[in-house]
Structure formats: structure tokens, C-alpha cells
Symmetry: C2
Subunit: 303 residues, 2 copies
């Protein structure tokens, strides 16, 4: 097997692109695709201070790795969820990566910031754990951006994730979600800018990247992800790509370029105001993060 | 298992609708859904003379059966493709159905109308058999409509077919196809009106209908359908429905109602003129059907 670029020994085969590459040319190829997405969607520049959301999995650690490699100013952000076994492993992976690469890391421990674990938080909010976890992370992203001057938060969502989301949104014609699905969400009203630099690289490529770069990551998925509908869509997207290579990239690129604008996000008529407890902009009486804390206090005082 | 409608013994379970029914109430349920589609899209009335395209499979024979049951004026149309084994079986199923139900049937034999089989036609046209077969059928539909006064042609395309087509068109953002996908295509410029009365019933329901009504149909698919991409999409649609019942119907209905109009068919700037050979309206010098006949003549004179 010969490398398409240098003609040397190829060890990597990318079916979606119908190319064989050696490790070095794979790394270059991978970096070019990430750089292309950053440039195309004006995600950030070398002047930005970037907060990288890291779970300890291959996607987020690979993202942090490549952005650091490309010379961007990155700081990791990890939310320690206090899930038995799982959280400690995830934290170790993140901590080791940061130490090894001498990169700054911010860790929030759920028990410290809300005084409870995710299971209990989910119970008092009467919402699924993933929804509460997402809310807490968004809250912390925005607070940290404000307090420590980060101009953008990046996440490891990749081509397969985005295609799966798009498929689900189309199957159910989720107009508002379709309108908002984009590789970059600009800053507005107290919400920090968010970007997905892996939007054009697939999960398989990230796996190869992590292996070639020797990144130690947590392989077990979050226990709460079991049975998620997103996993059904991801499996289907993999099947489609398997049968018709390069469908994924066209499906997503053409949507962003030509079709997303045909869907309309509901107008946000609601007025935001600062939360009386913490100052975070919210539509509710108090913000959801403070609401969670209040509910947890009430719950523990009733015990 | 109790029938949701009459409380009697239910023998049929419809997962997509989460209901159990007895045979009689299933037939009523099925008929209501077909009647709803006919009415909603103004497909035809009892005054129309309807040409039913019948292959001999469960979909088209069930369609013919229910339309006849509902008192519509139907005539079957079958194209005998001269495929070894397959065609004779298909023809027998269609002929037996017509005889048993005392319904008029028109049969075109490919060897008689073009003097060759589908394989040879595909070869001289340098197009896949399915594409040539479709062209011949469309040509014959329109000629028969004109010559014998049929006002509409109906086909057995069902919910699963239409969802599979929609999925494929979205994955590849086939804008023109998206704009044209609709349960009814109005008559225009020599093209007879076409309709799909099964657009809101799934393949599983049609199978049950055919069984309950005792319809003898051909079970082996056309040998040329093997490996068709449409089969991949159909399998995926089945998988999605299995995991999330009633996704199919919403996916398709909402598309027709709210989203199809956001896609644009390319403007047909081309002028149609009558084919000098047969008078059929065409964009080419001669129409494709006459082109096929000419190519076949040339081919056989070269032998």
C-alpha cells in the first residue's frame, strides 16, 4: 500500500476519500481539514483565548491536541461529574494530557459547584441528566469567558455528530434546530462565541489521529448516553457512509452552504435580564443554574 | 389481544400506530387512509377513468384491488418485460387477478412493441434497465391515456418508498427532485396526470392487506433491482421506524405540507415539439421511445 502523497509505505486507508496515506501525510491531511473549517467559518485566530471543552474522550482531547499543535492559545475546561468510576477515569485522562503537554486546565467539580452529583441534579430539575449536564456546562462556559477573558469555546463535535444531528432534525423537521445548526455560533447577549473545528473530520479520522498522536483517552462512553436517539442516527450515518462513501461531507456542506438559510429560527421575542442571584442573563425569574442550586438546597433541607 | 375498534379478537398489530385490530377493522382503517390521500391531493373522482400500473407485486395488485373495491373505474396496465422466468410469473399473477375480479387489463409485450427484451434495450440505449423500463412505461401511459381516454395513471408507490426517496434526495440535496416529489403530478403538455394513492400506507400494512384480501402476487423482486441505492434507503427507513414508530408519516407529511415548496425545480426553458415519428411531445429530435426503436433496428441490421 503506497501513500498517495509521498509514495512511501501507507498504513492508513481513508475510505470516504478513497486515499491511502502514511502517518505523516495523514497528520497533514487532518490538520488541513481542521484549518479549513476554522478559516471558512472564521472560528478564531491566534489572538483569541480559546476554552476547549474536554470530557476525556478521543474527540475533545484530539481537538485540544491539534489546536495546541497549531499554536492556538488554549485552556482546557473539564466538568467533573461525580459519576462513580467513570468520572475519575475521565479526569485522569484530561489531567495527564494537560500535564504532559504543559497546557492550562480548569476543572469544575460538580459536588463543589452545586453540592450534588448529576443524578440528584437531574432528579430535582425533573430533566434527563444530559439536559442538566449541558445546562451546567453552558452556564460555566459563559461565566468563565466573562471572568477569565476567553473569547471562544470550542467543542469536539465532528462530522458524524453533525450529520446525525442534521438527519434527526430533518426526519422530524425541527425547523428551529435546522436554522441554528452551524459550525459557529456568534457571541450574543452574554453568550460566548462557540465553534466546532472538527465539523469536517469524521469519527474514524479522529480515532486514527488520536492513535497516531499517542493520546490516552477514555474509551467507555458516558453511562447516561445509553439508548440516546442520537446514537441511532449516528449508526445510520455510518451505514450510509459505508454504502456510499463521501455522502456525509456533501450532506453537511451543502446544507450549511445552500439550505440552512431556508429554515427559520423562532424569533426570540423574550427579553433577557440579569439573574438576581448571580447576574447571568436569563429569561426566567432566576437563571437555571441558580434554580438548580435552590432546588438542591430545598431538597437537602427536607431530608 | 383485543381490537381497539370493536373489542373483538384482534389478529393484527400495527406498531407505527400502536393499535391492535381485527381483520375487518384493519380493512376499514386501511381504506380510510387511502381515501384520505385521494381526497387530500384531489387525485381522482368516481368520474375518472383510471389506469393502474400493475407489475404483479403486492403493492400494485393491492392498489388495483382497493380502488376497484371503492368503486373507481379502473383498468390494469402491465408491461411484459420478457425477462426469463420472472415475466411469465408476473403476468400470470396480473392476469389471474384481472380475470378473478372481472376487471379490464391492457398488456404490452416488450418484444411486440419494441421487438427486443429489456436487456437489449438497455444495451443500445447505454442506460440501466430500470431507466429504460421507466421511460417505456411513461411513454405507454401517456399514449394510452390519449388513445383510450384515461384521465389519470396510478402507481403503487407507498409510504416507505416515498420516505426512502425523500431521504435519498435530502442526503444528496437533490433540489429539483425535492421540488417535484409529491403524491400527485398534474397533467401537462401531453403528460397524463399521475397519482400515488398509497402514499400514506406503509409496506407492512400493504402486505397485511394483500394477505387478508387473499391476493396472489409475485414475491420475488425484479432481478434488476438488486443493489439499487433505493433499497439501502428503504432498509434505513425501516430501521428508523422500528426504533421510533410513526417517524415515517410525520417525515413525509410535514415535507409535503411545509417544506417541499422551499425547493425549486429547474425551470423548463426547453420547448416541446411533436416527435416526427409518433407525434409524442419531446425535447429531442425524436422521442426516446422512437430513438430506442431506431437503435434496435440499426443493431439488428448490423448483425
Amino acid at each position: 500500500m503506497k501513500c498517495r502523497i509521498c509514495g512511501g509505505e501507507a498504513t492508513i486507508k481513508l475510505k470516504s476519500y478513497n486515499i491511502k496515506l502514511c502517518e505523516q501525510d495523514f497528520l497533514n491531511f487532518f490538520k488541513r481539514r481542521v484549518a479549513e473549517a476554522i478559516r471558512e467559518y472564521k472560528m478564531f485566530t491566534h489572538q483569541d483565548r480559546i476554552l476547549v471543552a474536554v470530557s476525556g474522550g478521543k474527540d475533545s482531547l484530539s481537538l485540544w491536541d491539534i489546536l495546541a499543535q497549531m499554536g492556538y492559545q488554549t485552556t482546557g475546561y473539564h466538568l467533573y461529574l461525580n459519576i462513580a468510576d467513570a468520572s475519575e477515569q475521565a479526569f485522569e485522562a484530561v489531567k495527564n494530557f494537560a500535564d504532559k503537554n504543559n497546557l492550562p486546565l480548569i476543572v469544575d467539580r460538580l459536588d463543589e459547584i452545586i453540592g450534588a452529583g448529576i443524578e440528584q441534579a437531574s432528579k430535582v430539575m425533573k430533566k434527563p441528566p444530559c439536559s442538566v449536564c449541558g445546562m451546567i456546562k453552558r452556564y460555566r462556559f459563559n461565566r468563565l469567558a466573562e471572568e477569565k477573558g476567553f473569547s471562544v469555546v470550542v467543542t469536539g463535535h465532528h462530522l458524524d455528530d453533525e450529520c446525525a444531528t442534521l438527519l434527526g432534525n430533518l426526519l422530524h423537521w425541527q425547523e428551529g434546530y435546522l436554522a441554528r445548526q452551524y459550525p459557529v455560533l456568534e457571541e450574543k447577549e452574554g453568550l460566548v462565541k462557540r465553534a466546532k473545528p472538527f465539523v469536517y473530520v469524521g469519527e474514524e479520522e479522529i480515532k486514527i489521529y488520536a492513535r497516531v498522536r499517542g493520546i490516552n483517552y477514555v474509551q467507555t462512553p458516558c453511562p447516561y448516553s445509553r439508548g440516546a436517539t442520537s446514537l441511532i442516527y449516528k449508526r445510520i450515518i455510518k451505514e450510509i457512509e459505508e454504502q456510499m462513501p463521501s455522502t456525509k461531507i456533501y450532506f453537511l456542506k451543502a446544507f450549511f452552504k445552500n439550505y440552512r438559510e431556508r429554515f427559520y429560527a423562532e424569533e426570540e421575542k423574550v427579553k433577557l435580564h440579569p439573574c438576581p442571584e448571580c447576574g447571568y442573563l436569563t429569561v426566567g425569574e432566576i437563571c437555571n443554574f441558580c434554580l438548580l442550586k435552590k432546588k438542591l438546597q430545598k431538597f437537602s433541607s427536607q431530608k
